[in-house]
Point group: C2
């Protein structure tokens, strides 16, 4: 049940519309490594949060656009959650990592071919993230871009971790093949 907190956190930094929030929680940025959600979850949740007084509409624009901000009560709730919620247990659901683990159920040849694909994927993504980092320079920008920078820095390290792990796994599998064959 972290979606309301995700929205609260984004709105505590910067006012945004439901559409912008949906993009932030999409496949790039926050949704990539932390928590993804579609607009069909976001809009009803925004209405619930507004009803509770944790967020409010601070501007309206074209095409029915409503820009929300976190209220003081919303900021309190967010801070309380971040400071006091225990680190574990925590919800974890990552389809890609799951598939990485399940590779050991396949024949080594199949597993190796998928591991190579995974390495190519995270390498490409890491290149992209390095470009973002170099663009922003060595400082966290305020507002929306701040999340982008923080997510990029984390994503880069997470991608490198997957790269290293996949290389290790390929080495293990090849060694096993040599030993068995």
């Amino acid at each position: 049940m972290s979606l309301p907190h995700a929205l609260l956190g984004l709105l505590a930094v910067e006012a945004r519309s439901g559409y912008a929030l949906t993009k932030a929680l999409g496949d790039e940025g926050i949704g990539r490594h932390a928590w993804n959600a579609g607009h069909t979850s976001v809009y009803p949740e925004l209405n619930r949060l507004a009803e509770k007084g944790l967020i409010e509409v601070t501007a309206e624009g074209a095409r029915g656009k409503r820009t929300y901000s976190a209220t003081a009560a919303g900021r309190d709730e967010l801070r309380n959650w971040l400071m006091n919620a225990p680190i574990r247990p925590a919800v974890v659901r990552n389809e890609i990592v799951l598939r990485m683990f399940l590779l050991s159920a396949l024949e080594p040849d199949d597993a190796i071919s998928i591991l190579r694909r995974i390495i190519a994927h995270v390498d490409a993504e890491a290149d992209e993230l390095r470009r973002i980092r170099d663009f922003y320079g060595d400082e966290i920008p305020k507002g929306e871009a701040g999340f982008g920078q923080i997510a990029a820095e984390y994503g880069l390290r997470a991608d490198e971790a997957v790269h290293d792990w996949a290389s290790w796994a390929i080495g293990q599998l090849e060694r096993q093949q040599r030993a068995d064959g």
Copy 2:
């Protein structure tokens, strides 16, 4: 909808009971970084998979224990999923990473104190995982322990990534404080 595949993958490597599967998907091992689920999801899903013929009961024991194995059809389904499903989009839901990102909505002092707690946590966990790795040695064991070793190797690298990222973030926040103050 990856839970059935998670169960299928575990059962493709080694026969297990619902109880053992629940433990594997719990807060240690696979559930830690990939996909967690409680027994209330596992048992009904096992019945569904058995009905579809993807798994079967291969042994029964004390206390109503039923040990399942993946059938040939189940292995086919698993292989098909692992080989053909696109890498993205994928479900990602990680409460801890979400909270890491949202720290930028707090005052720097608060954020730094939480980052230090996170570092302490992942360091302790990494120590634990190194002990597991050293116990198994430098090779993937067959069966149940194989998953443990693979998960440990990945978890170690993921924890190191979080450690590095959190250290970087603390540095950024302290620099910002010096600049602002």
